[in-house]
């Protein structure tokens, strides 16, 4: 069974984050969290800005309690509202290519008609059409409105095309050395390979995160690494994507130290996760 959070939640879509509801001011705590989340995304994924994209916001609240705190948000960034049905696609038909009319006799028998089936990709997918989304994120806040968990995925972070090419290349060349595997990863656009720790640390978006978390100090930086040694086990059977994990300590304005764990994708180095290690059981090195 699918895990339950929003499958069973009462969804509420907020079209614009500053709009009043029913003539009443949105309770400031909720508005603050939505604005904070939007600012967070704009700071961490600046490449999405300036393209007239739409931010879709989902959350759920108790209908009966007006002052209910907002502790969960989902935000999607795309070409339009995520659930806007723009029509229905009937898919693609296959095509037949006939030999050119007036086939020169001296070339012999004309080639037979060529049949090609419809492309098996997104363009020919049957069903309802929705605006393309580039980033899907989730935020969790504690009772004081502090961000305690964040997750992100989507084609802006990793569209899997490069991943698929890398994986297929390594799969078809099992004799590759570790250095060649790393080179293949880099050739396909991976910004930070396993050997690029220094550069990765240098470009960490700590300044962008500090307005939300407090002053940050790096505790440790690690990357998912495969066994480097020659091994009878094929690369694809011991394959791990070189995603990064960074442990930081934030010092809040009140002088409190808060440990966080940050996760970054291997391809563009974008943030894919954040957890407050005080409250989460999922920190890897507690």
């Amino acid at each position: 069974m699918k895990f339950v959070s929003f499958a069973i939640a009462c969804l509420m879509t907020v079209c614009t984050v500053t709009q009043n509801v029913g003539g009443q001011e949105v309770p400031s705590t909720r508005k603050r969290e939505i604005v904070l989340a939007q600012e967070f995304l704009r700071a961490l994924y600046p490449g999405l800005a300036g393209k007239s994209y739409t931010l879709t916001v989902e959350t759920y609240l108790s209908f009966d309690q007006l002052g209910d705190k907002l502790n969960w948000l989902r935000m999607d960034v795309g070409e339009g509202p995520k659930d806007l049905n723009m029509g229905h696609s009937g898919g693609c038909a296959g095509s037949v290519t006939l030999p050119p009319i007036g086939w020169p006799q001296e070339l012999g028998t004309p080639p037979p008609p060529a049949f090609s089936s419809s492309p098996q990709d997104e363009r020919c997918k049957e069903g309802s059409i929705y605006p393309k989304q580039f980033l899907s994120t989730g935020f969790q806040f504690d009772k004081n409105g502090k961000l305690i968990s964040f997750g992100a995925d989507g084609s802006f972070i990793d569209d899997r095309k490069a991943d698929t090419e890398i994986y297929e290349s390594v799969k078809t060349h099992p004799q590759m050395s570790y250095a060649q595997v790393v080179a293949t990863i880099k050739q396909h656009g991976t910004k930070y390979g396993p050997e690029d720790k220094e550069q990765f640390i240098k470009n960490l978006p700590l300044k962008q995160l500090e307005p939300f978390l407090g002053k940050l100090q790096i505790i440790s930086v690690s990357v998912n690494e495969m066994t480097k040694d020659p091994d009878p086990v094929p690369w694809t059977n011991r394959w791990v994507w070189p995603d990064w994990t960074v442990r930081v300590q934030a010092t809040t304005e009140q002088g409190k130290n808060v440990p966080y764990e940050l996760h970054f994708n291997h391809l563009g180095g974008y943030l894919t996760g954040l957890v407050d290690c005080r409250t989460s059981p999922w920190c890897s090195h507690q």
Binding site: M1, F3, V4, R74, G138, A152, R160, N224, V240
Partner: protein, 572 residues
């Protein structure tokens, strides 16, 4: 024994002195056989294995009935207990008590060995024989002797194989050492035999080189001492090493003769959580989280996910599950559920992958109601019985013409019924399997409603040892009985499995299994991990329409061979 009479004498200043004539005094002596287990933290416990007494007259003849413990050591039974062979008895000790099997031999100094079909092997002297001459196979489960063999002098069991055969060494009267193997029924043959006539091709080792047997490595290769005393690697036609705790002399303690790391494959065609429940709602993080744990014990760990290659397709699962020799195969994802109104409803009859369903082939012809599903009751209107010509009665009691062949263009005929199967996003057709052949030692499944329709689907005997393989699945019945689930979980959520719990259980299972635990013990570790996690999980409130609410705490069980163990190296 003392007595004032009849030989008492008086002393001047005191009571009569007691003089003992021990030549007519009786005596009693007792002996206890204890097993002491020492835990890694230094604590210990002592368990009484057996006791006996002896009485007689004349203290000069008194002697204790001590147990003759020559060099016998207890070995783990693979289920938390121990096996011990002493003199003419074989003891099986467990937390629930002990059993004793009288043997027709006096056991020798070699340790017992144990196969994963729970057959133990001991050797010793038969009655009236001054030298060890007999090899015994003992059924630990039924406390009985399976077979006895007398291949020669000093037979010593060496290695137990996964097909239930036992390699051993023995001596011939010319003081040469030979290597042999006993099949699961006790028939013996040379370990390395001439394929044309079955004769022993050696090595024949003169005892001046020492009584050194063969040592099983991997890939059917044995390391043995050659006829000249040199060290050889020899290929034999045998199955792999048995998976139990004590398959080799000295217990293969460093696991150097078996795979040190697990061979695994994991399928995660569904995200365990949503984006808002970090880290399980982000694919790379969910897979990374699980992989980080699996990597600590596995040498091979392909991880099939939703969008990041390799992709969790049904065909990839069939290939990994049915053809690849493997230690642990994991699945974390949705089940295909049948909603019905019976006692076992709803139930799972398949798994959902990224591209298509994998479904247990339905059967509506043999009146097995649980297997009659996905019949086409949508393409024709139901009518009340009696059914007319060209109609058939569905399990819901109504008559449908669409059940009866010839089937509609998009339907499938199986025996005499028309079926229509679900697809993922109207894409690929479902895969149907009567039986899910499995080549993995353990299949760990995190999915919902795994009742008998699901567990009976798996054939765990493909190329397996006599004990078979293990399927580890949520124990739906036990989950319903758990007090916390009865108190906190809405009835409509009973039997459903939170995949975050399933993923955490899978991590704990693989780590424990790789660390040398049996499937049963690793299952316990998985259940503990879930029990520790469960209080921290937050579920959405129950909605008036019945959605939401807490999901149950998951409890896992082992179906099949609970003693399967790959890296057992220490006392479980």
């Amino acid at each position: 024994m003392t007595s004032p009479h009849p030989f008492a004498t008086s002393r001047k200043d005191g009571p009569p002195a007691h003089v003992v004539d021990t030549s007519v005094a009786s005596w009693t002596a007792t002996a206890n056989l204890y097993l002491m287990s020492v835990n890694p933290d230094g604590t210990h416990s002592i368990q009484t294995v057996d006791n006996r007494g002896r009485t007689g007259l004349n203290w000069a003849n008194a002697s204790g009935p001590e147990y003759e413990l020559f060099a016998q050591r207890p070995i783990p039974d693979g289920q938390g207990g121990a096996l011990l062979a002493v003199e003419q008895a074989f003891y099986h000790l467990s937390s629930s008590g002990s059993s004793k099997l009288s043997l027709p031999i006096t056991v020798g100094s070699a340790d017992p060995l144990l196969g994963d079909d729970r057959t133990a092997y001991v050797s010793g002297n038969s009655q009236n024989s001054s030298i060890p001459d007999t090899l015994l196979a003992l059924d630990v489960n039924n406390n009985a002797i399976k077979w006895s063999a007398s291949p020669g002098q000093n037979p010593v069991p060496g290695t137990i194989m996964s097909d239930g055969s036992a390699e051993f060494q023995y001596q011939q009267t010319d003081n040469t050492l030979h290597l042999a193997i006993a099949n699961p029924t006790g028939q013996t043959s040379p370990l390395f035999a001439n394929p044309s006539d079955g004769s022993d091709v050696g090595p024949v080792i003169n005892l001046r080189f020492g009584a050194r047997g063969a040592s099983f490595w991997t890939l059917n290769t044995w390391f043995a001492y050659g006829t000249d005393g040199g060290f050889t690697a020899t290929t034999g036609q045998v199955s792999g090493l048995s998976g139990s705790a004590y398959t080799e002399a000295q217990g293969n303690r460093q696991a150097q003769h078996g795979p040190q790391n697990l061979v695994t494959a994991t399928f995660m065609p569904t995200l365990p959580g949503s984006t808002g429940t970090h880290p399980w709602g982000v694919e790379s993080e969910a897979s990374g989280h699980i992989l980080t744990q699996i990597k600590t014990v596995a040498k091979s760990f392909p991880f099939y996910t939703i969008t990041q290659p390799p992709i969790a397709t049904a065909d990839a699962f069939i290939a990994e599950n049915g053809t690849q020799p493997m230690d642990v195969l994991g699945f974390v994802g949705h089940a295909d559920l049948i909603n019905c109104n019976g006692e076992n409803c709803p139930f799972s009859e398949g798994l959902i992958f990224v591209d298509r369903y994998l479904i247990r082939t339905p059967n509506c012809d043999e009146q097995i109601l649980d297997l009659c599903y996905y019949y086409d009751d949508k393409s024709s209107l139901p009518t009340a019985p009696p059914c007319q010509l060209g109609q058939a009665q569905a399990p819901n009691g109504m008559c449908y013409s669409s059940l009866v062949p010839p089937c509609l263009p998009n339907d499938f005929q199986i025996l005499s019924t028309c079926f229509v199967f679900p697809t993922v996003d109207n894409q690929a057709l479902a895969r149907l399997r009567n039986v899910l052949l499995s080549s993995t030692k353990v299949a760990f499944i995190a999915t919902c409603q795994t009742t008998s329709v699901f567990t009976d689907w798996w054939d765990l005997k493909l190329n397996a040892g006599p004990g078979g393989r293990a399927l580890v699945v949520p124990d739906i019945a036990a989950m319903k009985q758990l007090p916390v689930n009865q108190q906190q979980v809405p009835s409509q959520n009973q039997g459903f499995v939170d995949l975050v719990q399933g993923a955490v259980a899978y991590e704990a299972f693989v780590k424990a299994f790789g660390a040398g635990k049996t499937a049963d013990q690793a299952k316990d570790a998985a259940n503990k991990a879930v029990a520790d996690l469960y209080p921290m999980l937050i579920y959405p409130p129950l909605q008036p329409n019945g959605t939401g609410g807490a999901l149950p705490q998951v409890i896992y069980k082992v179906v099949g061979n609970s003693g399967v163990c790959v890296n057992c190296t220490v006392t479980p």
